[in-house]
């Protein structure tokens, strides 16, 4: 069918403990939450940016928390990633199952021979109603998987989907509806998963990891036992307690988790109002375990107030000046894309000085010819200042002048600045550039580079 060639993960840097969200919450049970300038687009970009984009002829974007209406997240992301113009770009939205929906179709399209390399990206940033954080599953993450025709780290050997008309909890015109749980779980979840296993999966004993992603996973033991599976085959979901339930991304993260755990033969079942099933065989184990690495690197949010500020629920002005929309123009961003998005610089043909901004002549040696060079996304701080009067959720905004590794200089804002004492800005500090929202009022998409200290 198709192969998983490579993958990328993006978890926000911050975690909030259940005990911070509610006095009776558990310590050590955490949810990954976005910084104020992150959203599904920035997470999706971060997850995808290190994947080899050569020959990618399709991109699928899955989310249950769309930021656009009437605009494709997939084509927006394709542009940010500098993929070829006009490739197949589809969105899979509206459900926590949409991550595996995208994987399912990508797998079939590659199997059909029409497409060779499809990038499947899922990102979800859901926030529950304020005060309902303990009873509502949430967590923010993105996962990108490159599926291709040629052999990769794992193969999807078979796949299928079994739909159901019954849903346990859903929304209708933004009202939340919960059917009688006894009926919908028996007739919906249990019935659907039983039938789908029977129809789609071939040999129960051939799997060393069975992943069931569902809010009702705990009731599934009996179902699987009846179908001939043993308890030792089950891969427990250890991610939910570390980063929360990451919605459409969760099933993909559980899959990556088992790949990194070295499982050879995986059954992935993803249930939400119907089941997607995949049988996966592993060939080589991933060298760079980026999920495990990101699970271990985080900082805790200290208080509920900071959590509210992160989700922009508080007053996020600085002093008396609140965030307003700045001037921006689609034309400007489009024509300056090479510089602004793709970090293409100009190298003076005579003295070798690398400029981020275009110019007719080199400022230093007046040479009139330049060659285009790709600037790097890492560097060290040449100078900085903290701006206390510029609007921000977490003032001050630190402006850093970064000398990029390999040449060129940029001036950008610092991000992930929740703990200024822990990550103190200094001249000479190493930073990397990450794509974030410039103005946090969410009135318009406005993504640009910011500097993040390598914590």
């Amino acid at each position: 069918m198709s192969y998983i060639k490579s993958y990328g993960i993006a978890l926000p840097h911050f975690r909030v403990e259940d005990s911070t969200l509610h006095p009776s919450g558990k310590k050590g049970v955490m949810k990954a939450v976005c910084f104020a300038d992150e959203d599904i687009i920035t997470l999706a970009f971060e997850a995808s940016c290190n994947i080899n984009k050569e020959g990618v002829d399709g991109i699928f974007f899955a989310t249950s928390s769309s930021v656009f209406n009437n605009r494709y997240h997939a084509s927006f992301l394709a542009d940010l990633l500098n993929l070829s113009q006009g490739i197949l770009a589809l969105d899979f939205t509206n459900s926590a199952r949409s991550g595996t929906d995208a994987l399912l179709l990508a797998n079939d399209l590659i199997g059909s021979g029409k497409y060779k390399n499809i990038l499947v990206v899922s990102a979800d940033v859901n926030f529950p109603e304020i005060g309902k954080e303990r009873s509502t599953p949430f967590g923010h993450a993105a996962c990108a998987i490159l599926l291709c025709k040629e052999k990769g780290i794992a193969e999807i050997t078979s796949s299928g989907s079994y739909s159901s008309s019954l849903a346990e909890e859903f929304s209708y015109k933004s009202n939340t509806i919960q059917n009688d749980p006894r009926y919908s779980r028996d007739a919906g979840f249990k019935n659907n998963i039983t039938t789908s296993i029977k129809r789609i999966v071939s040999k129960p004993d051939s799997f060393d990891a069975i992943i069931l992603n569902s809010l009702y996973a705990r009731m599934a033991g009996g179902i699987f036992a009846k179908a001939g599976y043993t308890e030792t085959q089950f891969a427990k979901d250890s991610l939910t307690s570390k980063i929360g339930n990451t919605g459409s991304t969760h099933a993909l993260l559980l899959l990556i988790h088992e790949l990194e755990n070295g499982k050879k033969s995986i059954l992935l079942a993803d249930y939400t109002n119907g089941t997607n099933l995949f049988e996966i065989k592993t060939f080589t184990f991933p060298e760079n375990k980026c999920l495990q690495e990101q699970l271990s690197k985080y900082d805790l949010i200290n208080c509920y107030q900071d959590y509210l500020l992160l989700r922009k629920a508080g007053n996020f002005g600085s002093f008396t000046y609140t965030t307003k929309e700045m001037f921006s123009s689609e034309m400007m961003q489009e024509r300056e894309k090479d510089t602004l998005q793709y970090l293409k610089g100009l190298k003076c043909d005579m003295c070798g000085t690398i400029y981020y901004l275009k110019a007719a002549r080199c400022k230093k040696c007046k040479c009139e010819t330049f060659s285009t060079v790709q600037l790097s996304k890492t560097g060290s701080v040449y100078a900085f200042t903290a701006e206390h009067y510029f609007p921000s959720s977490f003032p001050p905004i630190t402006m850093v002048i970064v000398d990029l590794d390999g040449g060129g200089r940029m001036t950008v804002q610092q991000t992930d600045t929740l703990l200024p004492e822990k990550y103190k800005m200094e001249i000479g500090v190493n930073v990397k550039l990450v794509l974030r929202k410039m103005i946090e009022n969410d009135a318009k998409p406005n993504y640009f580079w910011k500097a993040k200290q390598n914590g």
Binding site: F319, T320, Y321, K324, E325, M326, F327, S328, S329, M332, Q333, L340, T353, I354, Y355, Y356, L357, A359, K363, K364, Y382, A383, F384, T385, A386, E387, H388, Y389, F390, P391, P396, I397, M399, I401, D403, G407, G408, R409, M410, T411, V412, Q413, I427, M438, N446, F448
Partner: protein, 393 residues
């Protein structure tokens, strides 16, 4: 370049600087212009051409977008009037243009008038708003004016052992000078502790390290030196004038060769002006200096760029109180921008009026004794544009 005709300033006028709620843009124009006309003992109709300097009409009262905003309040019609805009060097540039017209023979009496009306808006509605909401959506977004100079401060502290105290002592000195100037915005002296403890704006610069946005106007009337009537006038002569644009709005923050330790524009403008005036050892040959202390760090940088000391040694001048009134080279005896305030288009001309008063011996309590030669300096944009004017009596 051949020998240039000497130019004389024969009339000067300056309004009170501050939060002038009772005066409109037009009132300020009239106030400064009529003072200068009276001082020159001429009539408005003797003026052959005029230059109006207002840097930011759009964040003020939408006046000053063209020369007609000088003509209208003065009923000064049927002569050429041009609006000059070059950021904080606008006022000095108006003077430069007037001088060039006199030299070219376009007119015999020229007026340069600078005016800015920013306080009809709340402070955060003017220049901060411009930096937040206007301009390129990404490049430099996050900076206010203070931040673009604060990065110099951090770099200077790292390279030259400059301290926060050195920077803030500039503010203490200038606020003391300002207490002697009845036209200054802030007339209250302050202590080092007050400067350092005031609200942080952009590390390490505090509110008292920053000049306020201000209303005000200043005006000079100039003629060719040969036209000075010695019985009537008390002239001051323009001996040198340099203006230089040496980088751009964005470039300093994206140019890997920019060291954030000096302003090339100031160095270049000073070189031009010193050459015209025949100055080779500025600290010995100048009696007083007005520099563009929009933020206190800029004054220290400018000591070095004007050649009052070597690079890295500005801290010695401030520590030794050499730039205080009574010191070796008094700097900003008017109180500077920190005390007088900064009506952007008017500031350069206000400095020329200040130095002229000292050269005429009319500066009252803050008079620099035996002042024979003085210098004014402005820096505009993020250190991109500078002007230096040398005046003699």
């Amino acid at each position: 370049m051949g020998k240039q005709t000497d130019i004389a300033i024969i009339g000067i006028g300056v309004t009170k600087f501050g939060e002038l709620f009772h005066q409109s843009y037009d009132d300020l124009v009239r106030d400064a212009a009529l003072q200068a006309v009276a001082d020159a003992k001429i009539s408005l109709d003797d003026i052959g051409a005029a230059w109006l300097s207002t840097a930011f009409p759009e964040i003020g009262v939408f006046k000053g977008r063209s020369g007609m905003d000088l003509s209208e309040p003065l009923s000064l019609y049927n002569i050429p009037v041009t609006r000059v805009s070059n950021f904080c060097a606008s006022g000095a540039d108006a003077i430069r243009n007037a001088i060039n017209a006199l030299r070219a023979g376009e007119c015999d009496v020229a007026m340069a008038l600078g005016v800015e009306k920013l306080r009809d808006r709340q402070p955060q509605d003017s220049i901060v708003k411009m930096m937040v909401e206007y301009g390129h959506p990404f490049l430099q977004k996050g900076f206010t004016a203070a931040g673009t100079f604060a990065v110099y401060a951090n770099r200077m502290m790292k390279e030259f052992g400059l301290t926060r105290e050195d920077i803030s002592n500039v503010s203490v000195k200038n606020h003391f000078h300002g207490s002697l100037n009845d036209k200054a915005f802030y007339r209250k002296p302050c202590t080092l502790e007050e400067v350092m403890r005031s609200q942080m704006v952009a590390d390490p610069l505090t509110v008292l390290d920053s000049c306020p946005t201000t209303d005000g106007a200043a005006c000079v009337i100039m003629v060719r030196a040969e036209d000075v009537d010695k019985k009537k006038h008390n002239p001051v002569f323009v001996k040198g004038l340099g203006l230089s644009v040496s980088t751009g709005w964005d470039l300093p923050f994206f140019d890997p060769n920019h060291d954030f330790l000096s302003f090339e524009a100031t160095r270049n403008a000073a070189r031009i002006a010193y050459k015209q005036a025949g100055i080779t050892d500025p600290i010995e040959e100048l009696d007083l200096v007005e520099v563009h202390d929009c933020f206190s760090i800029v004054e220290l940088l400018t000591y070095e760029d004007l050649g009052l000391c070597k690079q890295g040694e500005s801290k010695d001048l401030i520590r030794g109180k050499e730039t205080q009134l009574g010191g070796k080279i008094p700097v900003n005896v008017s109180g500077g921008l920190l005390s007088c305030g900064h009506p952007v288009g008017a500031t350069g001309i206000r400095m020329v009026v200040e130095v002229s008063n000292h050269l005429r011996g009319n500066a009252g309590e803050r008079q620099v004794k035996n002042a024979k030669r003085g210098l004014t300096h402005n820096i505009g944009g993020p250190g991109a544009i500078a002007s230096v004017i040398i005046l003699e009596n």
